[in-house]
């Protein structure tokens, strides 16, 4: 079964077929069978991936009295939409989502800017110690964040950045991985192009903005996606540096606070989770194709 499904894939859509006439009817039938198997696999996979999220939506709409029914209700009978209002107001989700957007925007912008500048410097400029400095950048990839957080917490504290967006974002404004990715992309740009641009009177910044970055766009996009997802997903660092200040708390920490001990409020908690994931799901529906395409550039 799996082999059948794999066959068509591994060999691509335009696999040539031999033309023996009497075999063609059988082949058509087996092809239809394979198609059915493929759809069955696709649907089974989709159900498994979607089921947890589906149950979350169902439970978020149930009245507390219906939540602990056994067997569990697989469909929201008498949905109450009020849970969403309560999650939004009780959970301060509006503020938390805003904070997450600010935090993520600062980190993504910062990482793109610092990586683009550094990668440009490594590829298009010549100076002593360039290779050594590049190795210094690479070495930061070997040091996991968890190793540095003990002292970073003290540093943030002594800078007076506890409970602030500076504290949330500044430690992440540069990335060795991003610089590395962009350097590889800039290396693909022919050197002649740089010389031709110089003859046209392009300075470094004009060349960077009008030629280098546009040519490296798939990789820039891939880096933006990666830093977006990892910034939005941050949990440990915001937990350490935001305490209980609502004005900087991100949505991840806010959701944890919404996870009450009362089982009757579980529907509100889950409504909060749905609210937090909805904007991102919409973004995914719009950008899924670009996401894979941008990664295709990076994986190669």
């Amino acid at each position: 079964m799996a082999a059948d499904a794999l066959s068509a894939t591994a060999l691509g859509p335009s696999a040539p077929h031999a033309s023996v006439p009497d075999a063609s009817a059988r082949r058509r039938r087996s092809r239809r069978g394979r198609l059915a198997v493929r759809y069955a696999l696709l649907t089974a996979g989709a159900l498994i991936v979607l089921f947890p999220m589906y149950m979350t939506v169902v439970n978020s709409l149930l009245a507390p009295a219906l939540l602990d029914r056994q067997p569990p209700l697989l469909f929201p009978v008498h949905p109450i939409w009020d849970t969403y209002v309560r999650a939004w107001t009780m959970g301060h989700l509006g503020v938390y989502l805003r904070n997450s957007v600010i935090q993520t925007a600062i980190i993504v912008t910062g990482q793109l800017v610092t990586s683009i500048l550094a990668a440009y410097s490594f590829v298009f400029l010549r100076y002593p110690l360039r290779r050594t400095l590049f190795i210094v950048f690479l070495s930061t990839m070997m040091i996991p964040f968890e190793v540095t957080m003990i002292t970073n917490l003290d540093t943030i504290d002594s800078l007076g950045w506890y409970n602030s967006f500076q504290g949330l974002t500044v430690p992440f404004l540069a990335t060795g991985f991003g610089t590395f990715l962009l350097r590889q992309a800039f290396l693909q740009i022919p050197k002649d192009l740089k010389e031709a641009a110089a003859l046209d009177g392009y300075g470094h910044f004009r060349f960077l903005a009008r030629v280098a970055v546009p040519l490296a766009r798939p990789v820039v996009a891939a880096l933006a996606v990666f830093s977006f997802l990892s910034a939005w997903n941050q949990y440990l660092w915001p937990l350490l540096v935001t305490g209980d200040n609502d004005n900087v708390r991100t949505v991840q920490i806010g959701l944890k606070a919404l996870q009450g001990s009362q089982i009757q409020d579980l529907n509100v908690t889950l409504a909060g989770a749905v609210i937090a994931v909805a904007p991102l799901l919409i973004l995914l529906v719009i950008f899924q194709k670009q996401l894979v395409r941008s990664l295709t550039g990076a994986v190669k």
Binding site: L11, L125, T140, I143, V251, T269, A276, V285, L295
Partner: protein, 308 residues
């Protein structure tokens, strides 16, 4: 004649000035990133080695005492650390192969252009946007002993799954694998799309069976992608923290059985307020990461097959 002399003299001077300017610009462009790295990566990294040598006093406000390597040995041989290490390894073993295989399988099934395939692709990628807290809450309710699905499925151990010393870690792992499916699927799809079609067709023309050509042609050609996905999966597995914090938590009876290294560092630092111990463990975590990275690079050099 006079002009020629001027040019000859001005040339090297101007060229040198330009070289100095270029070098200056080069360093200037590195400066923002270097500042961040200096303050938030290299300095704290170095300071860990100093912290590791000092023992935190049992009562606050007393000065910490220099104990040299004594504390390092003490922590590394403590059962708390060793259990944490085993838990981390188990967790990685639970998550990484399963996450990669499911992602690869879904990517292969969804690779062909069929009617409605775009919807399936969005669904398979969807867990990439379900953040740490959202996924944890989703599974917290699914695995809840009263509200969840488990009693219905006949799984109702005592104590309940999320408080059970045997079940807690696999439960977190199931959640983590589910959350990783999206990323794994996206990476694998990108890799499959980049495969050279002519080679795949040649295999078919040569009469290779579908199973053979998948394992002998597609997988080797896909190896850079598989390697990249492996690195991403390892990082993901090692960084799993929020999921454990929300799903299990420090107050839980089963907490010691999900106490992966990173969670251990956190609790040692925040609840026990013992930076010395935390620093020793974080150096151990660094050493493990370093060994893994070197191993991965070696595999990359020897095994990974780069097409074209």
């Amino acid at each position: 004649m006079i002009r020629g002399v001027e040019l000859a003299e001005a040339g090297p001077v101007r060229r040198r000035a330009r070289r100095v300017r270029e070098a200056g610009l080069g360093y200037l462009l590195l400066l923002p990133a270097l500042c961040v790295f200096g303050v938030f990566v290299f300095y704290p990294f170095a300071r860990n080695f100093k912290l590791a040598l000092y023992q935190t006093p049992p009562y606050p406000n007393l000065p910490s005492t220099y104990v040299g390597l004594h504390q390092v040995g003490q922590v590394l041989s403590s059962s708390n650390f060793l259990e944490s290490l085993v838990t981390t390894v188990l967790f990685v073993v639970f998550i990484v192969p399963a996450g990669l295989l499911i992602g690869l399988f879904l990517a292969v099934v969804a690779q062909r252009q069929l009617r409605g395939i775009a919807a399936y692709r969005v669904i398979f990628s969807s867990t990439v946007v379900t953040s740490v807290a959202v996924s944890a809450l989703v599974f917290y309710s699914l695995m809840n002993p009263v509200v969840g699905l488990l009693p219905w499925l006949g799984i109702s151990p005592h104590p309940s799954v999320l408080e059970n010393t045997t079940w807690a870690l696999p439960a977190v792992a199931v959640m983590a694998v589910w959350q990783f499916i999206g990323m794994s699927f996206i990476i694998m799809s990108a890799g499959l799309q980049a495969l050279p079609e002519d080679v795949l067709e040649a295999a078919k023309v040569d009469g290779a069976s579908t199973w053979t050509s998948f394992w002998r042609v597609t997988v080797p050609l896909l190896s850079p992608t598989l390697f990249f996905a492996l690195v991403v999966a390892m990082i993901y597995a090692f960084q799993t923290f929020g999921q454990i914090d929300i799903l299990i938590g420090y107050q839980n009876a089963a907490y010691e059985h999900v106490n992966v290294l990173i969670y251990n560092i956190y609790t040692t630092l925040v609840y026990e307020e013992n930076p010395g111990r935390a620093a020793v463990m974080s150096i151990a975590l660094f050493a493990i990461t370093l060994v893994l990275t070197v191993l991965q690079l070696r595999i990359l050099e020897r095994r990974v097959h780069y097409g074209r």
